[in-house]
Amino acid sequence: MKKLDSLHREIRTILLLTAFFAAIMPALSAQSVRPFDITSRFKLWLLNNEARAMSSLKSDEMLISRVSAPFAFMPFESAAVAQAEERIWAIHHKIYALVDELQEIYSFAKHYGNGRFSILFKQHRPEIWSVLPLQVALPGLISVVAVEYRKAFHADLLKSLQLDASRDLDLSGRLQRAVKKLSDEEYRLFNDYLGTFSALFPSDPTARIISAFIESGSKKQFAAGLKDFLQPVFTAPVFSDINISAAPVEPDDPLAELEKLAEMSAGSSTTPETVSEATADADDSDIPAQPATPQELEPPPPGSEDLFKIWD
């Protein structure tokens, strides 16, 4: 009987462990995938081809060197010289740098370009909450130190998000600068590789997305709403303003524009069904209506179909 209980316990343990690992496996595997990845497959394709060509070149060179000194009385070693392919590898190195830069710009635009993060941050205002004790204890001091405190907090925030105000203020400009690091000939080769990738793998949109991103991103300004987030104007907070439920917008708030944008967009894009549901919920409860987190922002300008859904 004891043996049966022990067996049941073991089976239960095994089942629990299996269920646990089955539950966490998707999360673990998701960690290895880069969010908003548009370049990895193309980059890996080029890297793999390059590696295979390099391997063949070296292997062949070693074989050829076995007949390059055909007489037994001469030194066998030969001086290495630079080969023409090294220029191609150097161009590839620049292409990899461009592709990484494109990925970074794209990820940045996808993460922050729609302004949702900024709005969320603005709504919770951690930098203001954190000075509340100071406001209570030393109200006279707050006007002196609050601005510097907010500046420092904002600088640390950007740093922790790996953002650089001077670099990311103009993403189109950053994209153009990245592309201009390649000469015309190098860019033509890059385009040839993109075309070849699309021809070889017609069902894989990677190369087409990269091409379209460069083309459209270089022409129009995108994620422009982040200007105030990256370069805000700081003033000391007013105690009465620190009220999440009311959430008044400070005139100098760095995210005010984005918030306004979000409210406008949320109001205009809410479907009738959701409006009626929200009204019904509000009627049923005594809780005052809270401004909902915006679901939709302003759509892309007409005529500029955004392949990357930066605004969705």
């Binding site: 081809n49 295979r52 060509a53 063949s56 070149l57 292997s59 062949d60 070693m62 074989l63 050829i64 060197s65 076995r66 007949v67 390059s68 000194a69 055909p70 007489f71 037994a72 009385f73 001469m74 030194p75 066998f76 070693e77 030969s78 001086a79 010289v81 630079a82 080969q83 023409a84 392919e85 220029r87 191609i88 161009i91 000939e185 190098e186 033509r188 080769l189 040839d192 070849t196 021809a199 070889l200 793998f201």
Partner: protein
């Protein structure tokens, strides 16, 4: 009538005797002698990727090396090869084959040219075969040699040679390699006076997915070498 025919035949044979000559080519390094050689290699290359071309203009490297003949033991000349990379002792058989290289233990010895043992007739071919191995790759290689002519006045033999082997290929990689050269050997002194050889390598790397094929890169390498006896000191 028979005498006339016989005489005519003798005359014809005597005319062709130099052409049909034969000689045994043997290295005869004399112990105590020092031989100085100049070895020049000129390499160039180019690569094409779609419409992008890159070429490396010819780069010439020259090195001198000295051969010190020390002794002849057990059918092999004991020589020290002194070059930029250091001094290496070699045991070289009379036909040019290597019987030992104690200073280069562990290193892969090249596939070397060696002469046939015994008389080698003008116009006669001589072939050497070896399987060359690099990593997991093994390639059968062949040296083809031809004694083209003998110059009895200068006591030299002109030898033509080429090397052929098939580099590993697959559906993504197409390769060509060719090497050919010429050597002048002084059969009286038993030393190589001069040699030139050139090699060309061509490698096309492509991608193929289903029915779509695209050539990505074309690599071409050329190399020409010259080996000349600069001085011989007793």
């Amino acid at each position: 009538m028979r005498v006339k025919t016989f005489t005519l035949l003798l005359l014809v044979m005597s005319l062709f005797t130099p052409v049909l000559g034969a000689v045994e080519l043997k290295y005869k390094f004399r112990p105590g002698n020092v031989y100085e050689y100049d070895h020049t290699v000129t390499r160039s290359s180019k690569v094409a990727a779609f419409k992008t071309n890159s070429s490396q203009s010819p780069i010439k490297t020259s090195q001198k090396f000295t051969l010190r003949a020390i002794d002849f033991q057990e059918g092999a000349h004991i020589v020290d090869v002194i070059g930029a990379g250091g001094a290496f002792r070699r045991y070289v058989r009379e036909n040019g084959a290597l019987s030992g290289a104690p200073g280069e233990t562990g290193e892969s010895v090249p596939f070397l040219l060696s002469f046939p043992v015994g008389d080698w007739k003008v116009g006669e071919r001589h072939q050497l075969q070896q399987t060359m191995t690099v990593g997991a790759t093994s390639v059968p290689a062949t040296w083809n040699m031809l004694l083209k002519s003998l110059d009895n006045d200068k006591q030299t033999a002109e030898i033509l040679f080429n090397c052929s082997f098939k580099l590993p290929e697959d559906r993504l990689r197409r390769k060509e390699f060719a090497m050919k050269g010429r050597a002048i050997f002084n059969f009286e002194q038993g030393i190589l006076q001069q040699s030139e050889w050139v090699s060309t390598y061509r490698f096309i790397f492509s991608n193929r997915e289903m029915a779509v094929g695209r050539e990505l890169w074309l690599f071409e390498h050329q190399s020409s070498s010259a080996l000349t006896l600069a001085a011989k000191k007793d």
